[in-house]
Symmetry: C2
Subunit: 141 residues, 2 copies
């Protein structure tokens, strides 16, 4: 799978898994809804704290990213026909979106991708995952 | 979701994502087929190096686990109806299976779970992920 197709598969995936490292050095992984847009320095994936997880506490992934902003995003396709397996992995660097204009733009791409957000727009913190590299693999070669 | 249901969902999932930490401290995540059995000290997930990845090189996940055996396994269900979202995360400690009897048993549970392995039995290294804790979440509560 070439880099263009890998990026396309990342962009179109409905869910990714975000892997981070805890302050104590152990790994952490959660499912994540996200939306990709083209930034000045390459693709950027945005995600927002929404009503799904329990509110009022700092999510473990945020604690992790504040201590170590390097992360990985994985999207994959599992089928029982293993000749159709594929995955795409992006190395990313995270930072919180604090600029109001960038936040508005991030929420716009999230709402556009996920109709679920139209009725319940995310109210929480927004994070930016700058993609530093993308690698794809498919069993079909 | 209680611990019993979380473990059941882990056991029945066809694919998980394995998060590890690279020697340089960055995270790493890959899809993984695995099979769970009850060990003397709780549930154990086995996986084997098979013909799917490129052969002849050490997989990054193995390099990582050899340096830091703590890992996480994630299984999740994504649906567009977000009231049906769920995930189960297991903290695990990895070690390679070197004992011939344990290897035979691990391959047996893998082949039993995945008919795909019946025609092409895994020939590579086998690893054991001892489950130290399991946590489940569902949007339905």
């Amino acid at each position: 799978m070439d880099d263009v197709e890998a990026l396309e598969r990342l962009i179109s995936a409905r869910v990714a898994r975000l892997a981070t490292v805890r302050p104590d050095g152990r790994p952490h992984v959660v499912p994540l809804v996200f939306a990709v847009m083209n930034g000045s320095y390459g693709p950027v994936a945005y995600w927002a704290v929404d009503g799904k997880p329990k509110a009022g506490t700092t999510l473990q992934r945020i604690t992790n990213l504040e201590a170590n902003p390097t992360a990985e995003l994985l999207v994959d396709g599992y089928e029982e026909d293993w000749s159709r397996l594929w995955w795409v992995r992006a190395s990313v660097t995270a930072r919180e979106v604090l600029d109001a204009a960038e936040r508005a733009q991030a929420l716009e791409v999230l709402v556009e991708k996920y109709p679920q957000y139209r009725t319940e727009r995310p109210q929480g913190r927004v994070f930016r995952l700058g993609v530093t590299s993308v690698r794809g693999w498919s069993a079909a070669g």
